[in-house]
């Protein structure tokens, strides 16, 4: 079975470490915040100028001056700090954020990512995604492995305009966890009940399949 949104978020959260500063993109990455283990401290960075993002506010706590990068009202966690957009991207570009998780349309085996623009369709803009992929050492891209029509999104070469070049080393899809090394995907884990054959079939880019590919474990 392909992973559900919750399972994807849960698997993302398994990449968190105690003391990590993490930037989570809109969508599934944001959901991962719900799966931070109780015995672990993780601080969430919101690129509009907040380090230490808390949960959504109670009705009476709503503050128009306190939002996240998705423009949703939020709260601040203990130890939070506030700063300008320039400061925010200084910490992103400067490599101070331990982990960045974001979505994409396509990824290729050269580590290129396309996530912000489909020519001919509406162009909304890259927001902070280009800065995030250029600045972070440790990035996880979350996406579906293939389109609804069964076309692979893990390609030999991205077809859409790039968000970043040669910057992605790890991809989590609804079917598998893969690393990108030396111009190829390496299959690290598969979703429970998903066969290696199915993943091979839906991966258009070069794919190395190690002898043992364990199933993901969810607690």
């Amino acid at each position: 079975m392909a992973l559900s949104r919750e399972q994807l978020a849960q698997r993302v959260a398994q990449e968190f470490h105690d003391g990590y500063y993490v930037n989570l993109g809109i969508g599934i990455p944001t959901l991962a915040a719900n799966f931070i283990p109780d015995d672990m401290q993780v601080m969430l960075q919101s690129e509009n100028g907040l380090l230490g993002m808390g949960p959504f506010p109670l009705e009476e706590e709503v503050d128009a001056d306190l939002i996240n990068a998705g423009k949703q009202t939020v709260t601040m966690a203990t130890g939070a700090s506030l700063f300008s957009s320039a400061e925010s991207f200084a910490m992103i570009r400067g490599g101070h954020v331990d982990l960045t998780v974001l979505g994409a349309f396509e990824v290729d085996c050269q580590g290129n990512i396309a996530s912000y623009m489909i020519p001919g369709k509406l162009i909304k803009g890259m927001g902070g995604a280009m800065d995030l992929v250029a600045g972070a050492e440790n990035i996880i891209v979350t996406m579906t492995h293939a389109s609804k029509h069964g076309e692979s999104k893990l390609l030999p070469q991205c077809t859409l305009p790039l968000t970043g070049k040669g910057c992605i080393k790890r991809v989590l899809t609804d079917l598998a966890l893969l690393d990108i090394e030396d111009g190829r995907f390496i299959l690290r884990e598969r979703a429970p009940g998903v066969s290696v054959e199915e993943i091979v079939k839906l991966t258009a880019g070069d794919l190395e399949v190690p002898a043992n590919v364990p199933e993901m474990v969810f607690r």
Binding site: S46, E47, N48, G49, L50, P55, F56, P57, L58, E59, V62, D63, A64, D65, L66, I67, N68, G70, K71, Q72, T73, V74, M76, L82, F83, S84, S85, A86, S88, F89, I92, R93, N112, M117, L122, I123, K124, G125, M126, G127, G128, A129, M130, D131, A134, G135, P161, L162, T163, G164, K165, G166
Partner: protein
């Protein structure tokens, strides 16, 4: 106005000298921390042909989106322009020129503009459409593109509190692009929720010194929320 007193009494006075075809740098992120009354004044004035640099262009009913109704913006420099039907229509018809700029690069372009740095190298956008036509250099084996500073004829910004000398304090994530936007305009106009006498702000707690501010005005704010998300108790 005398000495360091930056306070003006009307929005008309605050934006005196803003003319057609000028460049305006605006603070705000989404609708958070936007200079909403200064934007309304630009709409009232009817200034046209503007180049506006701001992270977003408001929504159909709020913020910079209001300047689209009478097509006052000629060119928009922004990182994200979704959720705005009017913007989409004018962009598609070619009436509105759009220069998409990565968010961190946009912030740094404003900062550089205010800090006297003509350009800077960043890895952001290398190998993407953003990097096309820009100078590339390698440092320590990595590719960087040259991005130029932004300068405005005017900057418009929103702060929380100020003293009469224009020393500013921002509040929570309403800070966002505002401090850099202020520094990058030849005439920097800031609207705030409260103005106190000079000496009443703790100098250690001032986020942006008044040297960058030319005109200061106290306003009342709607503070429209784009995505009201709450949890239940």
């Amino acid at each position: 106005m005398s000495g360091f007193d930056k306070v003006v009494d009307s929005y008309e006075e605050a934006l005196a000298g803003l003319e057609d075809n000028m460049t305006v740098i605006a603070g705000g992120f989404g609708l958070c921390g936007i200079p909403e009354n200064l934007i309304k004044e630009i709409r009232r004035k009817g200034t046209r042909g503007l180049t506006v640099a701001s992270n977003n262009c408001g929504t159909d009913e709020c913020g910079l989106g209001l300047l689209l109704i009478d097509k006052q913006i000629k060119k928009m420099i922004a990182s994200y322009v979704g959720e705005n039907a009017l913007f989409e229509a004018q962009m598609m018809s070619g009436e509105l020129e759009v220069e998409l700029t990565p968010q961190g690069t946009l912030a740094e372009k404003m900062r550089a503009g205010g800090a006297g740095i003509p350009a800077f190298f960043t890895a952001t956008g290398y190998g993407t459409p953003v990097g096309e036509g820009k100078e590339v250099r390698q440092f320590n084996g990595r590719h960087y593109i040259l991005e130029e500073a932004l300068h405005g004829d005017f900057s418009i910004a929103k702060a929380y509190k100020a003293d009469r000398y224009g020393n500013l304090m921002f509040r929570k994530t309403a800070r966002n692009f505002n401090p850099m936007a202020v520094t990058a305009g030849k005439i920097a106009v800031v609207e705030v929720e409260e103005i106190v006498e000079a000496g009443q702000l703790d100098p250690d707690e001032i986020h942006l010194p008044g040297i960058y501010v030319n005109r200061l005005i106290k306003g009342t704010f709607d503070k429209t929320i784009e995505q009201r998300t709450v949890r239940s108790a």
